[in-house]
């Protein structure tokens, strides 16, 4: 028979616990596995936020980057959220998407104060990211912030991101807000299509 008895794994024994040293130092190790190990170990250390953020800026290995992001989400402080926000302006799509996903997974009360100011950023892409993010944060200001986008943002694509975010939330109270967009962009066929889709969604038709 080709099956051999596997070596015994004792789940209660912390195999790596005896390893000494400061995980902060491992963040700069040449071995990606060591850097991942460092990020794992730092996920409960709020004092490590600056180091994790700095490493995130330089990190090119996707698996380490993912672990750095996860560590910042696990720390979950306002400082951790603030450390993520600047990376939304990165040219690296993978990093940007990772940051969006990470901010979504942080407590809304922590993420919202860092994300909401982006609604007034000069870069419309940042405003779109902010609208998408706010749509997924269970926060009491969510509807008001997205309504503000729909009523005031000059860029139709930002407004449509807010519409999409409101539709994903599924709250029928959002329908009057969405309908106001037709008045701002009466000749835009995609606005008409989106508002109609929202009506159908919220009426259950």
């Amino acid at each position: 028979m080709a099956l051999v008895k596997a070596r015994k794994i004792d789940g209660a024994k912390p195999a790596g616990a005896a390893e000494g040293g400061d995980p902060l130092a491992w963040l700069e190790d040449a071995d990606p596995a060591r850097r991942r190990q460092a990020a794992h170990a730092l996920g409960d250390r709020p004092d490590a936020v600056p180091a994790l953020s700095a490493r995130l800026t330089r990190e090119e290995d996707p698996s380490v980057r993912e672990t750095l992001l996860t560590a910042l989400v696990r720390i979950g402080t306002a400082a951790a959220a603030a450390a993520l926000v600047p990376h939304l302006a990165s040219e690296d799509v993978g990093l940007r998407n990772g940051v969006i996903e990470s901010l979504q997974q942080m407590p809304a009360a922590v993420a919202m104060p860092e994300v909401a100011p982006l609604l007034t950023a000069a870069d419309s892409d940042l405003r779109i990211f902010a609208a998408q993010l706010i749509g997924k944060l269970p926060h009491p200001d969510r509807l008001d912030l997205l309504a503000g986008v729909i009523d005031r943002d000059p860029h139709v694509n930002v407004c449509l991101s807010a519409v999409e975010a409101l539709m994903e939330g599924g709250d029928p109270a959002a329908l009057p807000v969405v309908e106001r967009l037709s008045g701002r962009f009466p000749d835009d066929p995609f606005v008409a299509f989106s508002v109609d889709a929202a009506r159908r969604l919220f009426s259950g038709a």
Partner: protein
């Protein structure tokens, strides 16, 4: 202690235990949406799981919860409830297409370039009462043409010590064996009585069963160098961050180019960007990149 199922129709109306009308509405909804069918005899089973899910999402009234199931855009809560409803329905050769994929394609890729006699490590994470790791063992022995060329280590783990004890014992009733051909039952099991069969000692001894919480990084550090991980219908019970951390730990546990098999309704792309989806003729698996 009397069970809710022993009672007549409840007049509590809107909280689980479900009233007769609500129970009917629930069963009709689940049947229409999922094909799952529950009779009156399953009332306690359904009631308990609905109550658990209502508590988990913070909904007090059954009709509110039913509305959540009906109208939630993501369908996540329905999936969670369905998994709770089906969690005890495991059996040998469940989701056979992934076992097909293992022996038809994935293992050949795993051992490419390895000399004869090399170790191959396969881990069933969340193995419950053992049907999955034993199904893997039998599938390898019966259907992988290169099985005798390698030394294959099978690991199985669960967080529940009671189900692990049952897995080690390897005694199953007819329901667990329903999808297994009779000749394989005869080959690998000993009939104990009219109701139960025990899997042969050689197979029981070949698998390392261990008590492991996959959410615990220290415990997960013991698992390294795995070539294939089966983690089916387990991560659905984790929150987003928990799934992401578990995916990261599985990444560390896998060898480069190793595979992870998730349940048919689960997608690694919604949990983590660490793995590459690989579409094989029989199934989609997720692979750890070479570097």
């Amino acid at each position: 202690m009397s069970l809710p199922s022993d009672k007549g129709p409840s007049d509590k109306g809107d909280t689980a235990g479900l009233s007769a009308a609500d129970y009917d509405a629930f069963c009709r909804f689940l049947r229409e949406r999922t094909g799952l069918s529950f009779t009156e005899a399953k009332r306690y089973f359904v009631d308990r799981r609905v109550s658990e899910r209502m508590a988990a999402v913070g909904v007090e009234h059954v009709r509110q919860y039913l509305n959540l199931l009906r109208f939630q855009a993501s369908g996540e809560e329905l999936q969670l409830l369905v998994n709770r409803m089906t969690v005890n329905e495991t059996y040998f050769f469940r989701e056979l297409y992934q076992l097909d994929c293992l022996v038809n394609a994935a293992l050949d890729e795993v051992v490419r370039g390895r000399p004869p006699g090399s170790r191959v490590r396969i881990w069933s994470a969340g193995c419950a009462t053992g049907e999955e790791p034993y199904s893997i063992a039998i599938t390898l022995l019966e259907r992988w043409s290169r099985v005798d060329e390698f030394e294959i280590e099978l690991y199985a783990s669960d967080i529940d010590s009671q189900v692990l004890a049952r897995a080690r014992e390897g005694i199953y009733e007819q329901r667990s064996l329903q999808a297994m051909p009779r000749d394989l039952v005869a080959k690998y099991f000993t009939r104990l009585d009219d109701q139960s069969w025990q899997i042969m000692e050689e197979l029981r001894d070949s698998i390392d069963f261990s008590l492991v919480n996959i959410a615990d990084p220290q415990q997960m550090e013991n698992f390294r160098g795995m070539d294939v991980i089966f983690c089916r219908n387990l991560l659905i019970y984790f929150d987003d961050l928990g799934r992401r951390e578990a995916a990261s730990m599985f990444y560390d546990a896998l060898s480069p180019n190793g595979f992870i098999c998730l349940g048919h309704s689960e997608s690694m792309s919604r949990m983590s960007s660490l793995f590459v989806p690989r579409r094989f003729p029989d199934a989609i698996l997720y692979q750890k990149p070479q570097s």
